[in-house]
């Protein structure tokens, strides 16, 4: 047992190490990240979009996904004509910053200018599309917390039956609504984006198969099954077909 007894100084040192080591590491990679980010921004400003794309891609590979980096990467790709990649990065950025109006407006603009219009949605679909998966999840959590808090408060403070009924029903209804929204948005959370400019939807999962039609780069598709190097997908307009796995890229 004596082996496990350490001095208070040891624990202090260990605590300091644990607290500061991530900061030290972050400082090291932070400098690199900032440098790459600045280099990317400079390249973008002088109109060298391919260089900007390279810097931002490198930064993403080193430090991970940042909403600002992904947004700038989307802009660089859009400027260099790679609409599929641009939309892919805007979609990624939106997952991290769903309320960012810059990302929303640029994504909308690129889609509009590229003729990437979704199909006509029903009123219920439009309603559930008001918020994304994270927002619906957060809303459900909010109503759960509200209900829990009310229940805790009601242990100490007496509420009339009428008040209890109204608050409980409201929380439950909104919780269910938010949960429904989350369930509706869940399958749409992980789309793939067509990044190949010359993609086609095929009848069968082999390259010599008859194409049923071309599919524009930037289209969101949802894979249903896979066969070798092909995915059977449904695109946002409802068209179905096989597409080469190399022609699409996952948002997540």
């Amino acid at each position: 047992m004596r082996f496990f007894r350490f001095s208070p100084q040891f624990f202090t040192a260990l605590l300091c190490f644990l607290l500061f080591s991530p900061c030290l590491a972050a400082t090291g990679t932070g400098d690199d990240s900032q440098n790459l980010f600045k280099l990317g921004n400079k390249a973008y400003s002088r109109g060298d979009f391919s260089a900007a794309t390279e810097f931002y891609e490198k930064l993403t590979a080193i430090s991970g996904y940042g909403s600002g980096v992904l947004f700038n990467l989307g802009n660089s790709y859009a400027r260099s004509g790679q609409i599929g990649k641009a939309i892919l990065n805007y979609e990624r950025a939106l997952r991290l910053a769903p309320t960012n109006s810059d990302i929303q407006s640029n994504l909308e603009l690129v889609r509009k200018e590229s003729g990437l219009f979704p199909r006509e949605y029903s009123w219920s679909e439009r309603f559930f599309q008001l918020l994304n998966l994270d927002q619906w999840t957060m809303a459900a959590f909010f109503f759960l917390v509200t209900f829990s808090t009310f229940q805790i408060v009601s242990l100490k403070r007496h509420f009339s039956v009428h008040t209890r009924w109204i608050i409980t029903t409201a929380c439950f209804m909104f919780f269910l609504l938010s949960l429904s929204g989350a369930f509706f948005r869940h399958p749409l959370w992980q789309p793939f984006v067509v990044t190949d400019a010359n993609s086609s939807l095929l009848l069968s999962p082999f390259s010599s198969s008859t194409p049923t039609g071309s599919i524009q780069q930037g289209r969101l598709v949802y894979p249903e099954k896979t066969h070798d190097d092909f995915n059977y997908v449904t695109d946002e307009t409802g068209r179905k077909g096989w597409i080469a796995s190399s022609s699409i890229e996952s948002v997540l």
Partner: protein, 603 residues
């Protein structure tokens, strides 16, 4: 139930009444041979059916070179819409001993009082391996297989590489046998590709050589990918359900159930896998000629028509026109590419999108291309004609078809278009419109880049998968569980107040015993006895629901058992209250143990 039994009885009675009349019905005989020509290593089935009789005695003859093996007799009685009929079928297997042409002379059949004769039966026995007819497949793994199932194909001649060749695959299944299909026909070659077959083939019925077959037909296309002369065949896996032969009577005599009918009735079926194989076909694939090949030829082979249309036809400069190009016909549509729009400085073009819609089958259809074009000059009066080239395999030459120019009217815009103003393309007008080859002007109005990277994440994880969120949700549910349990507990206490009182008494007793123990350790007799007295009064007061201090020794003696140790302790405590009493540690130990035991017993 009684009504049903009565109906059954009446039916049976009617049957009995009418069966004798069957003997008076006209007696006919029919003979059938399973195959008119079969090899010497096979056998044929001879069926002699006597209709209108309940029994028949067939006198077989001897034929040189043939052996007859009886395979039993089956009888059948039909009552359909009041019409009665009966028939007896005798089955024989004919085993040939040598090839040749054979004739079975008329056989005499004695049915009731009549004697009738069959027709003469002629057939041919061929040498070994000489039974297949052209384009007719066979089954593998069963005796008398060609009877059960086979595949027929439409004829195929020579074709060009990449040409789409329609073919119909017909699988025949004899209706006398029960069979299940386990797979679609599979093409056995690597030089030819086949379009996927439908899971729902066309189902028909055909009569061949007096036999009824269920026919499954698939219409598909083949396309040669390697030049040369290739042998192709199709295979299909199926399962044959054969009636299981019942065990015959061990006593040798005929049994009531010694009829082939009962083989299926009592014996069930045994499953036997079979492989139905088509005949081998020669598929000759030749290379397309190089002479006369147009520059814009993309590999389309078949017969096509080209039409174009444009909308709107009256636009201002810079306004997009949606050009629709339709190529319709028969052929390999996967090689049909959109005709190239002439490159001129007067037109700005966008890459077209395509959409294919098949007609009756994949061989015939229509491919539709939509292309956005923008006129840059008001002098333009028509959209130029477009050309499409293909190879016509029937005429064996390349053809180029050209669309007629479309007349349009281009006018100057009412307000001059600013250079930086985004041009609204056809792409933004229609969901399926064109994707610009170069970034469109509108992209220039993108919101500028951000100057902060934002917080980095190694992985984009939805909120519901994040630990912090899950902890929050878990905490909420734990809180709700706590509230629920607390409410249940509160309600339980409200329903059973004695539980609460019991708990309170136990708590007070624990506290009192702790104080008594302290007094015992300090050997303070007065305090010890005072605490004992107080504890007894407290517990009994709660038990009897009276003020504890008001309880006297007389009350305890009256209400408790006289043998209880509490009386002695309480008495000693009373005395100690008015006089100095000294207790030894041993007595204090005994008192404290008794007190604990007695008071706990009261709880």
């Amino acid at each position: 139930m009684r009504r049903f039994a009565f109906s059954l009885f009446v039916t049976y009675l009617i049957l009995l009444l009418f069966i004798p009349f069957l003997a008076n019905a006209e007696i006919t005989v029919e003979t059938s041979l399973s195959s008119q020509s079969f090899p010497v290593d096979r056998a044929a089935r001879l069926t002699i059916t006597v209709s209108g009789a309940r029994s028949a005695d067939i006198q077989m003859v001897e034929v040189d070179g043939l052996r007859f093996h009886s395979r039993g007799q089956s009888s059948q009685v039909n009552i359909i819409n009041g019409n009665y009929s009966s028939s007896i079928s005798n089955n024989y297997i004919i085993e040939p001993l040598k090839p040749g042409a054979y004739t079975i002379p008329p056989l005499s059949i004695k049915a009731g009082k009549e004697t009738i004769r069959t027709r003469t039966i002629t057939f041919e026995v061929t040498p070994v391996g000489h039974s297949q007819t052209p384009n007719e497949g066979k089954t593998k793994g069963t005796a008398d297989e060609s009877d059960i199932a086979f595949i027929r194909l439409t004829e195929i001649s020579k074709h060009y590489s990449g040409e789409v060749v329609p073919i119909t695959i017909k699988a025949y299944f004899n209706q006398k046998y029960r069979a299940n299909i386990n797979s679609l026909p599979v093409l056995k070659t690597d030089a030819v590709v086949m379009s996927p077959l439908s899971n729902q083939p066309e189902q028909t019925q055909e009569e061949l050589d007096g036999k009824i077959y269920s026919v499954l037909s698939w219409s598909t296309t083949l396309s040669g990918i390697k030049t040369g002369n290739h042998l192709i065949l199709f295979e299909l896996d199926a399962t044959l359900n054969l009636p299981r032969q019942r065990r015959m009577s061990t006593f040798g005599g005929s049994n009531l159930f010694d009829d082939s009918f009962f083989n299926s009735f009592f014996g069930g079926f045994q499953q036997k896998p079979i492989k139905v194989v088509s005949p081998e076909l020669h598929f000759k694939v030749i290379e397309l000629p190089t002479t006369g090949r147009p520059k814009n030829f993309t590999g389309a082979i078949g017969d096509f028509r080209l039409t174009t249309s444009a909308s709107p036809q009256h636009v201002e400069i810079g306004e997009p026109i949606s050009l629709t190009i339709e190529i319709e016909g028969k052929g390999n549509f996967d090689r049909v590419e959109p005709p190239l729009f002439p490159t001129t400085p007067d037109w700005k073009t966008y890459s077209p999108t395509s959409d294919y819609s098949g007609k009756e089958n994949i061989f015939s259809g229509k491919k539709r291309f939509e292309q956005a074009i923008v006129a840059k000059s008001s002098t333009l009066q028509q959209i130029p004609s477009l050309s499409f080239s293909y190879f016509d395999p029937e005429q064996e030459r390349y053809k180029t078809i050209t669309s007629t120019p479309i007349t349009i009217k281009i006018t100057q815009p009412a307000v001059p278009v600013h250079k930086q103003q985004p041009v609204q393309t056809a792409a933004s007008l229609q969901p399926q419109s064109a994707l610009p080859v170069v970034p469109v002007a509108g992209i220039n109005s993108l919101t500028p880049i951000h100057l902060k990277t934002g917080k980095f994440h190694r992985k984009i994880t939805p909120l519901y998968k994040q630990i912090l969120f899950l902890s929050g949700v878990g905490s909420c549910f734990l809180l709700l569980l706590f509230v629920l349990l607390f409410n249940i507990h509160t309600q339980n206490l409200a329903r059973h107040p004695e539980l609460h009182l019991q708990k309170k008494r136990r708590q007070l007793l624990t506290e009192s015993l702790a104080k008594i123990s302290e007094a015992k350790v300090s050997v303070d007799s007065s305090l010890f006895l005072a605490l004992c007295r107080q504890s007894i009064q407290q517990q009994l007061g709660l038990l009897w629901n009276i003020e504890g201090a008001a309880i006297s020794l007389a009350d305890i003696k009256n209400r408790l058992d006289s043998k209880t140790g509490l009386i002695e302790i309480f008495q000693a405590a009373e005395q100690a209250a008015y006089s100095t009493t000294s207790l030894s540690p041993e007595i204090m130990q005994v008192y404290s143990e008794n007190l604990k035991k007695e008071l706990e017993g009261l709880i």
